[in-house]
Structures are given as structure tokens and as C-alpha cells.
């Protein structure tokens, strides 16, 4: 079964984002979904599927953010409802499965967090005592271990990653809603930033964000009657190596990106040569490098050479993370990538719009990745404007 060009993303919902004190997590879900429905030109009664990104424990006495509570706040009583708990990144694939089965006509996917103002969830939280006994906490350490092993396996390191951090920052500088819109970054700034968990410095790490994001998925047939240009799902792939980083032997590649990417490119019937821009999951700079390496943009160890000279920046030959990404725009899990690709293909990105405005190719096909836990889950989406 090939669902190439059969389903589309038809609306995007944003909220205030960055440091937004005084807001609950559920309020961001609610606002993002309402805005996405309005953006698509739909009514809440049209939406019959709801998928929430990752469950997080509630902060500060807030209600537990279940998908049921999200449905209640948004006036939805969907046929299908789901939320994952540990960063499996199959939200879009599940949405399309429900549409393909005829269970739903319009599925909304949403993400929300108030971690920045509500308290960093990684700090002082012990959820695995066997790891905590050795001082292993949070995601940065796992990616630091992966990056360290990669540095031992092929040519990579900060001289490669600086191009990713600085390149994405230049996109953020064009994006008024990016958390780092007003903050320039030089290579010197990158190297002067403190270590978090070595070999990862501060600017190798994604942002922590208050805010929400949502998008609406439906059939291309329905999309043709809606208000925006049709952004179709051309290819989908997923692969989940699953093993925890402590037992992984794939941390320096091939990660899940290899087989996930092969699946997506096979469905789309194209190769990396057909890609006009990329929105790559960037929890850390190294994640961008290993994902693009495993997708086949360059061979192992050739990343530094590939990323240099502004390749991924405004004006570059292969724009990457054109909103600023999670490193410099906002952390909205995989919706950072999917919504930016959708907005770019719809031509709605203003100063950062791919095409003449940024001296880049006008995009027809954009490659998106999503990745969860510590390189344990991966999904790939190829979008194109029909």
C-alpha cells in the first residue's frame, strides 16, 4: 500500500512561545489546537481525531495533561485519541493510519509544555535509581555519550557542530517568533559557551520552551477545498532501534534514521538529490549531523566539510531548520519540524521564506525528521507542495 500524496497537512497552530510565565501546559495545548483548526478554516466539529505528543508529569499542582483533558478543553469528542509517553515518534503516521482506515476525517496533532517557567523537569528528578546512582541524568548525557563515540568512530566534533549551531541561529534571526531572534551567534560565541555535558556545549543543546504547537491532517481530496496550498505527505518512514544508550551499539550510526529514511524515500520515489530543504530534529547539534549522515547527504566523517561555508544557512545550497529549529527557535518536539516545513511549502514564512527572500531555492520538497529518547526512535516525513 502506498499512500504517497494521499494525505496533507492543512493547518498550523502557534501560541506565544519562549518564556511565558503564568500559563498552564493544558492552556498551550488548547490554544494551539484552536489556532490550528481556525488556520485550516475548519470548525471543531470537523475534527474527529486527536493525538497529543509526549505525556509529561504535571508541574506545580497542575492537572495531569491527558488527551481526554485536552479534548475536553477544546470541545472535541474524537473517534480516535492517543498520546505517547516515552517519545515514540509516530504521531503523523498514526494520524494517517486513522484517516486511511476511514476512522477519522481530520486529525489534530498537538504538543505543549511549560517547562521553562514551570521548572526544568530534568533537574533533580530521579526516575531511574540505577542510573542516578552513577550520576547519569537527563538527555544531554546520553547524547554526549553518543557524540563522544562518534568522535572516536569518524571525523566529527565541535568543528562540525559549530556550523549547525551558528547556521540555525541565522535562520532564527529571521524569525520574529524564535526565542533567539535577537541574539546573534558567532563561532567564537559557540566555543565560549560553557560545557553542559562534555563534549556538548550550551549551544549544542536545544532550548527549553513554554508554548504549544499543533497541526491538522486530512486527505488531499479534502485539502483541495481548504484555504491553503496543499502540502502533501509524499513519503513516510519509521525505525526504532529502541535500545537504551547504555546498551546501544548504534550511537555513531547507523541510527534509526538509516532505515526510516530508506522507507520514506522509497515511498516517495525520490532520493536526497530531490530534496530542496530539510527540517531535521535537533535536540542536539550532533543529532542533526548523524541524521543527515544516515540519510545519505554525506559519508561518515564528511560532515564538517559538508556543513561548512554556510551550506545550511540563508543563501545556502541546502537550508536546514529554517525556523531556527529547536536549537534557536523553540522546542516543540517533532512539530517544530513538521509545522515549519508546512509553512515553508505554503509560502507563509515572511523574512525567512525559502526562495528569493533568502536567496535559496523555492521549495517543492522538504525532508523532515523526528527522533525520540536517546536515538531510540526515529521517523521521517517527506512533504511536497502539490
Amino acid at each position: 500500500m502506498n499512500i504517497k500524496d494521499k494525505y496533507a497537512i492543512v493547518g498550523v497552530g502557534y501560541t506565544p512561545q519562549g518564556k511565558v510565565p503564568g500559563r498552564t501546559s493544558i492552556s498551550f495545548h488548547t490554544e494551539a489546537i484552536a489556532n490550528a483548526i481556525e488556520d485550516a478554516g475548519l470548525k471543531r466539529q470537523d475534527v474527529d481525531g486527536l493525538i497529543c505528543y509526549r505525556y509529561f508529569p504535571p508541574l506545580g499542582g497542575e492537572p495531569t495533561v491527558t488527551p481526554y483533558l485536552v479534548a475536553q478543553h477544546t470541545g472535541l469528542k474524537p473517534h480516535m485519541i492517543a498520546q505517547e509517553a516515552n517519545c515514540a515518534r509516530n504521531q503523523l503516521i498514526n494520524a494517517i493510519g486513522w484517516l486511511e482506515m476511514g476512522m477519522c476525517n481530520y486529525v489534530v496533532i498537538s504538543y505543549s509544555q511549560n517547562q521553562l517557567s514551570g521548572g526544568r523537569t530534568e533537574a533533580f528528578r530521579v526516575d531511574d535509581y540505577t542510573k542516578a546512582a552513577f550520576g547519569q541524568f537527563g538527555a544531554t548525557s546520553g547524547y554526549a555519550m553518543a557524540a563522544r563515540r562518534a568522535m572516536h568512530t569518524f571525523h566529527t566534533g565541535p568543528e562540525t557542530w559549530k556550523h549547525i549551531a551558528v547556521g540555525q541561529r541565522k535562520w532564527a534571526n529571521l524569525n520574529p517568533i524564535a526565542m533567539m531572534h535577537d541574539r546573534l551567534m558567532t563561532f567564537e560565541d559557540y566555543f565560549n559557551a560553557p560545557w553542559v555535558v562534555e563534549p556538548l556545549r550550551l549551544f549544542d543543546n536545544c532550548l527549553i520552551t513554554d508554548g504549544g504547537r499543533a497541526c491538522i491532517v486530512t486527505s488531499v481530496e479534502r485539502a483541495r477545498y481548504l484555504r491553503h496550498p496543499v502540502v502533501a505527505v509524499m513519503g513516510l518512514g519509521s525505525y526504532n532501534p529502541s535500545y537504551e544508550i547504555e546498551q546501544s551499539v548504534n550511537m555513531a550510526g547507523p541510527t534509526g534514521a538509516r532505515l526510516s529514511g530508506e522507507q520514506a524515500f522509497a515511498m516517495a520515489g525520490i532520493t536526497v538529490k530531490d530534496i530542496d530543504a530539510c527540517e531535521i530534529y535537533d535536540c542536539f547539534t550532533y543529532t542533526v549531523e548523524i541524521t543527515m549522515q544516515d540519510y545519505g547527504f554525506f559519508r561518515p566523517g564528511e560532515g564538517e566539510d559538508w556543513f561548512k561555508d554556510g551550506k545550511i544557512e540563508p543563501g545556502g545550497a541546502m537550508p536546514v531548520n529554517t525556523s531556527g529549529g529547536q536549537l534557536s527557535e523553540a522546542y516543540m518536539m517533532g512539530l517544530t519540524q513538521l509545522t515549519e516545513a508546512t509553512m515553508q511549502l505554503m509560502g507563509r514564512c515572511g523574512p525567512r521564506q525559502l526562495g528569493p527572500a533568502t536567496k535559496t531555492k523555492s521549495p517543492e520538497i522538504i525532508l523532515c525528521s523526528d527522533n525520540g529518547a536517546v536515538l531510540q526512535t526515529h521517523s521521517t516525513t517527506i512533504l511536497r507542495r502539490l
Binding site: 540505577t130 550520576g135 547519569q136 548525557s141 553518543a146 560545557w195 555535558v197 563534549p199
Partner: protein, 135 residues
């Protein structure tokens, strides 16, 4: 001063491991059918699905597969250790386990250096297997 760091809470699956640590022995499950030595502990072999399991004693020798150098304390118990090193140890018997590399200069660490276990007795119930670079 009392010990400020979190301690393992042995489960039904890994109690034998922590009991072994008390005696300064690294114990792992070994599949009686295919011989795979596994970690974390499990009731079946993930390779061949055999339920038949024996316990094997590790030599405590292996390689530093990879490591991370913490420059921030995510838990107050580790604040006075900064910078400290968490590591994935590849034991010669096969399993990869999380631990710390201690008593080495951080700038001397490299992936694949040979390591050996050393023991830290924390409480009467818990001893932690840690590793040092083989001189």
C-alpha cells in the same frame, strides 16, 4: 557526612546483581541455550527466547565504550564531584553497563581504553561497581 547520592533500588529482576556486588562480584545472566550474556536482566533471552538461564561471573575487565563529562550537577549529591565522568563499559563477556570512571585524569580518557572494576562500598546493602583505566 551522610551519603547524598541516590542509591539503586534492587528489583525482582536485578536483586541477584546487587547481591553479587555486596560480595564484589559482577554477576550476569547467561543464556543456557545460546550463551548470550545479558544486561539488563530479563526472564527470557532476547536473542533466542530461551527461559533457561544460568549466572556467570564477569572478570570485571572491559573497554571504555564511551563516556560523558558532567559539568553541571543535576542532583545536589554530585555537586562536589564536578567535573565527573559517567561511562558505558563494554565488558569482555559482552554486556554494556553504565558506571563511572574514577581515579583517572579526564583529559587522558579515550574510547576503547582498557578498564577494570573497582568497588565502592556505600551501605551494608549497596556496593557500586566503578571502573578505572588499566595502568
Amino acid at each position: 557526612m551522610t551519603y547524598q547520592k541516590p542509591l539503586p533500588k534492587p528489583t525482582a529482576d536485578d536483586k541477584f546483581f546487587w547481591d553479587g556486588c555486596k560480595e564484589h562480584r559482577l554477576l550476569f545472566q547467561k543464556c543456557s541455550n545460546c550463551g548470550v550474556v545479558r544486561w539488563p536482566p530479563s526472564i527470557i533471552c532476547p536473542a533466542c527466547y530461551s527461559r533457561a538461564t544460568e549466572i556467570s561471573i564477569s572478570s570485571g575487565k572491559g573497554k571504555l565504550y564511551t563516556f560523558a563529562v558532567y559539568h553541571r550537577a543535576y542532583h545536589p549529591g554530585f555537586a562536589s564531584d564536578l567535573p565527573y565522568v559517567t561511562a558505558v563499559i563494554e565488558l569482555v563477556e559482552g554486556p554494556h553497563i553504565l558506571s563511572n570512571v574514577v581515579s583517572s585524569r579526564i583529559q587522558d580518557l579515550k574510547c576503547d581504553l582498557p578498564v577494570e572494576v573497582i568497588w565502592e562500598d556505600i551501605t551494608p546493602e549497596i556496593s557500586l561497581p566503578k571502573f578505572r583505566i588499566v595502568p
